[in-house]
């Protein structure tokens, strides 16, 4: 057991643990909120924007950074749209004042 750890192995460890966390957290989501779940997961997967920012980052603009900038814009649509539409939906699930109750 010598040598350095390959980053891919570290990634795999993180990946497997994250899938387990995801599995247990998602089964606890109430079915009534499955649509907001989908829109918020959409926003969360748009964290891919960090990859896009790195791609667009280099100081000289070339083919790669142009693609990166486009990817930043696409992911930003999702980040803003995903969280805002989730918020809009969740506002509707707010408890109403008691007058509404039977």
């Amino acid at each position: 057991m010598t040598g350095t750890l390959d980053p891919t192995v570290v990634n795999l460890v993180v990946f497997v643990l994250a899938v387990f966390v995801g599995y247990h957290v998602i089964w606890n989501v109430t079915p009534a909120l499955h649509t907001p779940l989908m829109s918020v997961t959409n926003a969360i997967s748009s964290v891919i924007i960090v990859g896009a920012i790195l791609a667009a980052g280099p100081s000289e603009i070339d083919f790669g950074s142009a693609l990166g900038a486009v990817a930043v814009a696409l992911a930003a649509v999702n980040v803003a749209g995903g969280f805002l539409v989730t918020q809009r939906m969740l506002e509707m699930f707010k408890k109403k004042p008691k007058a509404e109750k039977k």
């Binding site: 990634n11 779940l37 964290v47 649509v77």
Partner: protein, 467 residues
């Protein structure tokens, strides 16, 4: 910022994302959860901007403002009935972003802190992330077209399954070819553009071919599945960039979509593979409806209102027809009138009611129906025996008692047991069969009264009659 500090900030963001999903376990904590999600995203973006602070930050900010503005406007304008389309469109954007990033990595690995040329392990992960991204993109575009009803203009978007001979064989050949070119990219050194781009091209075509044979009724599964794919694409990109936050966020989303697909398949009594292989609804005909001998009792909206007004407890079963007719506000108005008369009113929701998981709950919440009146199928099924009137609005297969009969094609499918109520009122546009292509014995029971017509019109007439 040091690499360690970056990793710690990314860890904080990942924890926020987990808390965001955890918040959705109840409506009370859900908004706090969303706030966690926004916080996590802010941390992630600001940290990454700090890494590239010396680069073209102006370019990035302009792109973010443009994209963010578009997203904000769309999120404000979209109607709740259009949520499935919106979600499909958003999946396609994640897929496309993954593909663009992958191309940028091949072009200049140095920008991502990777070795140049790209190490072999990262090439494999890049291949996986980019092909999943490409399939997510083109598949979601097709799903969007089907959901938005563009089928009349473009046959590819037809909500009926698009099938042709040799479809599965073609898909298989393409999949093998895609993997072959992917391996060629993996084995070739550095910037092997040709196999990489050919592989991407095939993946785009595959995405289209996988989704076109899936019929409109299976869309809840398709959306969940593409949700899952978009997460795996993000995780794949995270692997190739050695970015643990991306891996965590992607895996959370991937497992979320996979679980939702499973729940939807189970609620429709369909196996995941039969949905993927497609063509549902084309194989009917075996169970032709022999409604000719049976008689149906039908009545007017006024008759229905009379029955409702004289009940003590009413359970409303909303279905797809209600969503299409946008009748949720009228239903809420009617329920308010009944509640004012001292009648107990509740709603029974089948997992596949609406066009995506949880869609009906959102539509009812939009109409300001308090969520404690809205019950899931398992929670209310035991109470139909003591319910005076079950009012079924635009639902069919999900209340079909044939699901309890061995040998029927939908045997085993979980249903809302509205047939156990003392009186059953059914609103439908016609006697046409549901997606499963089956006749529904519920409609011919002695205690059932059919009220034909558009759900919104019928409910509005009931409201008038209740005055």
């Amino acid at each position: 910022m040091s690499a360690n500090l970056v990793a710690l900030w990314y860890l904080a963001a990942s924890v926020c994302f987990i808390l965001a999903l955890k918040g959705l376990s109840s409506p009370e904590t859900a908004r706090r959860g969303n706030a966690f999600g926004i916080a996590g995203m802010t941390i992630a973006v600001v940290t990454t901007l700090a890494i590239v602070a010396k680069g073209r930050i102006d370019l990035i900010l302009v792109a973010m403002v443009i994209g963010g503005t578009v997203g904000a406007i769309v999120s404000r304008r979209v109607q709740m009935t259009q949520m499935p389309e919106l979600v499909a469109a958003m999946h396609s954007l994640v897929g496309m972003a993954a593909v663009l990033i992958a191309v940028a990595v091949v072009n200049n690995p140095g920008a991502f802190g990777e070795h140049d040329p790209l190490p072999r392990g990262n090439r494999l992960e890049l291949f996986i992330g980019s092909f999943v991204g490409a399939i997510t993109f083109s598949g979601s575009v097709i799903a969007f077209g089907k959901l938005a009803g563009l089928g009349k203009k473009f046959r590819l978007f037809s909500s009926a399954p698009v099938v042709f001979r040799g479809q599965h064989a073609l898909n298989l050949v393409l999949a093998i070819a895609m993997i072959g070119f992917g391996c060629a990219f993996f084995l070739a050194g550095g910037k092997a553009w040709t196999p990489f781009l050919v592989m991407l091209g095939i993946a785009f075509v595959l995405g289209v071919l996988i989704i076109i044979p899936i019929g409109g009724a299976d869309m809840p599964v398709v959306i969940s599945m593409l949700n899952s794919y978009s997460g795996w694409a993000a995780a794949g990109i995270g692997f190739s960039l050695n970015n643990t936050m991306l891996i965590i966020a992607g895996s959370l989303v991937g497992s979320s979509g996979a679980i939702l697909s499973y729940i939807m398949c189970k609620a429709m009594n369909r196996s995941f593979f039969s949905v993927i292989l497609g063509g549902f609804g084309a194989a009917e005909g075996a169970v032709a409806a022999d409604s000719s001998q049976k008689t149906v009792r039908s009545g007017s909206a006024e008759d229905a209102a009379f029955l409702l007004a004289n009940a003590e407890s009413v359970v409303i079963v909303p279905g797809y027809g209600l969503a299409v007719a946008r009748a949720q506000h009228a239903v809420k108005e009617m329920a308010a009138k009944l509640i004012a008369k001292g009648i107990s009113v509740r709603y029974a929701i089948h997992p596949v009611a609406g066009r995506m998981p949880g869609h009906m709950n959102v539509l009812l919440a939009e109409a300001e129906v308090p969520y404690d009146q809205v019950l899931e199928m398992e929670d209310i099924n035991g109470e139909f025996g003591t319910t005076d009137v079950a009012l079924i609005l635009g639902a069919n297969d999900v209340v079909n008692p044939l699901a309890h009969e061995k040998g029927s094609p939908i045997y085993g499918m979980p249903i809302i047991e509205a047939n156990k109520a003392r009186t059953v009122l059914v609103n439908k546009r016609s006697m046409a069969a549901g997606y499963a292509g089956l006749d529904n014995p519920l409609f011919y029971m002695d205690k059932t009264m059919m009220v034909f017509g558009d759900a919104k019109k019928v409910v509005e007439d009931m409201v008038k009659a209740l005055d």
